[in-house]
């Protein structure tokens, strides 16, 4: 414990009592939640794959192309955000206060990703790709929108971790819980990029 002023972690009532736990409650609970979310995205992406494979002409002829170069750049930004969060977690175990900068960077890059996606949506709608214009548009907004919703919630959790870190009462398991969701958001995106954009 390098920071002497940092309060000792809150012990759970049952930690003195009961079988020794391998994974903390928060991380286990969030991992189970992520399991469901993986299946949610698997359902959407495989539905899209089936519809795409059975279409006579693909992509729909009068619809704009999805901007895969710009999104590749955005994918890199999101990946970098995941790396920064990993660095933040590693630093947190050594010197808690030094985790602030990488956590801030992770949140910033994550926010950039969501804003960039929103800008992309605006330009796609301007080009005539909407929810009802074609099956491509329906699936595009459904899958990317659901992912963006998860990204926003996960960024909220990271911001909360940052506030706790600045207040000095962040627990390692709390940071890890938020990180599980963020790693899911980061990890799911390349799959979506591959199946939807390419």
């Amino acid at each position: 414990m390098s920071a002497g002023s940092y309060p000792p972690p809150v012990r759970l009532v049952r930690q003195e009592h009961g079988e020794p736990r391998v994974i903390s409650n928060g991380v286990l609970g969030m991992s189970l939640f992520v399991l469901t979310e993986i299946m949610l995205f698997a359902g959407m992406v495989s539905a899209f794959t089936i519809v795409r494979a059975s279409a006579a002409i693909w992509p729909p002829p009068d619809q704009p192309r999805l901007p895969f170069e710009e999104t590749a750049f955005n994918t890199a930004a999101l990946f970098l955000s995941g790396v920064f969060l990993f660095v933040a977690q590693r630093r947190f175990t050594v010197d808690r206060r030094s985790a602030r900068m990488p956590l801030l960077a992770a949140i910033g890059l994550g926010g950039f990703f969501v804003v960039f996606q929103g800008w992309e949506w605006v330009s796609m709608i301007a080009q005539g790709l909407t929810m009802t214009s074609s099956i491509l548009g329906s699936f595009f907004y459904l899958i990317v929108g659901t992912h963006a919703l998860h990204a926003i919630v996960a960024i909220g959790l990271l911001v909360q971790s940052l506030r706790r870190l600045q207040g000095g009462w962040l627990q390692p398991s709390q940071l890890a819980t938020a990180a599980v969701l963020w790693y899911f958001v980061v990890g799911a995106w390349p799959m979506i990029y591959w199946r939807v954009y390419l």
């Binding site: 009532v13 009961g18 928060g26 609970g29 189970l32 469901t36 299946m39 359902g43 099956i135 819980t177």
Partner: protein, 571 residues
């Protein structure tokens, strides 16, 4: 937002000393205590069961006596009939079987059986019930909006369910999807809680193989639920968009695919059968060992077969779609996997029969229910083999044979399994003994009419009677006198069975008010929940949480003079 973040503070545990007096709303309306949340789930589920049963009564009366003015409902119109059938199916599966078997028994039993003072996320638990209650209110409210409740059958196949001109319902269909989706969110939160609690807060000494079977089964069922529900949620969102935003996910004219919904639905729908089956199987294991005073024959076998069933259950879904135009080669594959899944289940049944063999069986009410579960579920399982074979299913598809088959599986699960569990743990829940004679009367007046409802329907189904037909008088070959007689037999049996439930409610209320005190361990059972007071106080063991020394089913152990050896008793 803060509600859903799992934090490691011991929320709701600070007041376990018993110093803090809780207000009425803290204790009964917005409780954090797992037992009170379990009771909320239990009684909401029972209320919904009464409604679902009433719906069955209304449409069965229409089928037996077409055009009759049904007492309590009025004349059943075609739109009414569709709404009643749809809501009966949806309510009985999503608002009765799941809340009672998983949420109520899971919430009540998991912390008590593993020696914990509460769930690990009490606030998530409370939120789970509140979302569930909201979903129940929405599904009931849909009966009172313009166009009435959803009439597209509980499977909601498009285009019937997405186009108002086909399903004859307007906003009711969107309310149905919303209610189902919210219900899933509630069980998702509940499932996270059950698994995390069972994994992380077991009593010291309780190893993996010392966990009572019902806890294992609820955990495995929760995992199955969480793995299967995602695709259906995706499909639900897509269907809601189709109805309300005008997208075309399931509209073939505009590039969509209606069969896609069937895949998404049954990928969830088939594991769902095992999601509700496994808790019932676990309850029966616990009841059976207690009342035959024998160790469970093959604890690990039951566990492995449950896991095997769970894995296989993800590979069988297209057996619901043999006539949907899928590739016949695919049908072969799904026939094989479907017939394979009967192997682990059959093995489980053999284990139960072997548990009974040579035991000192006492026929108390819970034991009768447990035995009836085995018997009736076997009928459901064996008729499932007929339907799993695609060649036969092409003839049987959408007949009453299918309907009778799945009622012979779901009824033992949701009703018989629940009664077994409820009568077994009633002394723990309320601290009073139930009247055994009234319990047995209720048992026989439920089981005999149940068989008289669905055995005739097997015959009618084999004779070609199709499901989802409002009035058979329009089909001369299906309204022969003997067929109408069997329909009336089924309906009258249903009325007898529903009437018999009054005995149950009377027995519950009478025993709760003035039954003899149960004491800690009336059944002389060895699992941990029977070492707490009846009913257990807030915190379950205020004097200190128990320690576990042995497996859950040590009955008639040769090294112990008493015929049961409690898990918490040092050697």
């Amino acid at each position: 937002m803060a509600e859903s973040i799992p934090v490691e503070h011991a929320d709701g545990h600070a007041d376990h000393g018993g110093h803090h007096e809780m207000s009425f709303s803290e204790k009964y309306i917005f409780p954090l205590d797992h037992k009170m949340i379990a009771m909320q789930y239990m009684f909401t589920g029972m209320f919904m069961a009464v409604i679902g049963g009433f719906f069955a009564y209304a449409f069965r009366m229409q089928l037996a006596f077409p055009g009759i003015n049904v007492p309590g409902w009025g004349v059943v119109t075609p739109a009414d009939y569709n709404a009643l059938v749809t809501s009966h199916g949806s309510i009985m599966i999503f608002w009765v079987a799941m809340p009672v078997l998983i949420a109520a028994f899971g919430n009540y039993l998991i912390p008590l059986m593993i020696g914990a003072d509460d769930m690990v996320f009490p606030r998530v638990n409370r939120l789970s019930y509140q979302i569930f209650l909201l979903s129940a209110i929405i599904i009931l409210a849909s009966f009172f909006v313009e166009g009435g409740a959803f009439g597209g059958a509980w499977t909601a196949y498009p285009p019937l369910s997405t186009k108002a001109e086909y399903s004859l319902t307007g906003i009711g269909s969107t309310m149905w999807i919303l209610a189902v989706a919210l219900e899933f969110v509630a069980f998702l939160l509940g499932g996270i809680n059950f698994i995390t609690t069972a994994m992380n807060s077991r009593a010291p000494g309780m190893k993996m193989w010392d966990i009572p079977m019902v806890v294992w089964m609820i955990v495995i069922a929760s995992i199955l639920f969480m793995l299967s529900v995602g695709p259906l949620l995706a499909g639900g969102i897509m269907m809601m968009f189709d109805q309300q935003l005008g997208t075309a996910f399931f509209d073939p004219d505009r590039g969509g695919d209606p069969i896609l919904w069937q895949h998404l639905f049954w990928f969830f729908g088939h594991p769902e059968v095992y999601v509700v089956l496994l808790p019932a199987v676990g309850i029966v294991a616990d009841v059976m060992t207690v009342f035959s005073r024998k160790k469970l024959f093959g604890y690990k076998t039951v566990l492995y077969t449950a896991i095997g069933t769970g894995v296989l259950s993800f590979t069988v879904w297209a057996h619901h779609q043999f006539v949907a135009g899928i590739d016949p080669r695919m049908a072969n594959v799904f026939t094989v996997t479907t017939l394979l899944i009967s192997v682990p289940i059959a093995e489980m049944m053999f284990v139960y029969i072997a548990t009974l063999y040579g035991g000192s069986i006492t026929f108390k009410t819970p034991m009768l229910w447990a035995l009836a579960f085995i018997f009736e579920f076997l009928i459901g399982g064996i008729t499932g083999i007929f339907l799993g074979a695609s060649g036969n299913d092409i003839y049987m598809h959408d007949t009453y044979f299918v309907l009778a088959h799945f009622h012979y599986t779901f009824y033992p699960i949701a009703i018989i399994g629940t009664f077994a569990g409820f009568t077994h743990w009633f002394p723990k829940m309320f601290g009073k003994m139930m009247n055994d004679n009234l319990g047995k009367l209720h048992f026989w007046l439920t089981i005999i009419p149940f068989n008289l409802i669905f055995l005739p329907l097997f015959v009618l189904g084999a004779a070609g009677q199709h499901r989802r037909i409002y009035d058979y008088q329009n089909f001369p070959e299906l309204s022969l006198p003997w067929m109408q007689d069997l329909r009336q037999l089924a309906t009258i049996s249903l009325c007898v069975m529903l009437g018999a439930q009054l005995i149950f409610f009377y027995n519950v209320i009478k025993s709760w008010m003035s039954g003899p005190a149960a004491g800690k361990n009336p059944w002389r059972a060895s699992t941990l929940e029977w070492t707490a007071a009846s009913p257990p106080p807030h915190g379950n063991w205020p004097e200190g949480l128990p320690t576990c020394y042995r497996g859950p089913y040590e009955y008639s152990h040769p090294d112990h003079e008493e015929d049961y050896w409690p898990q918490n008793e040092p050697a």
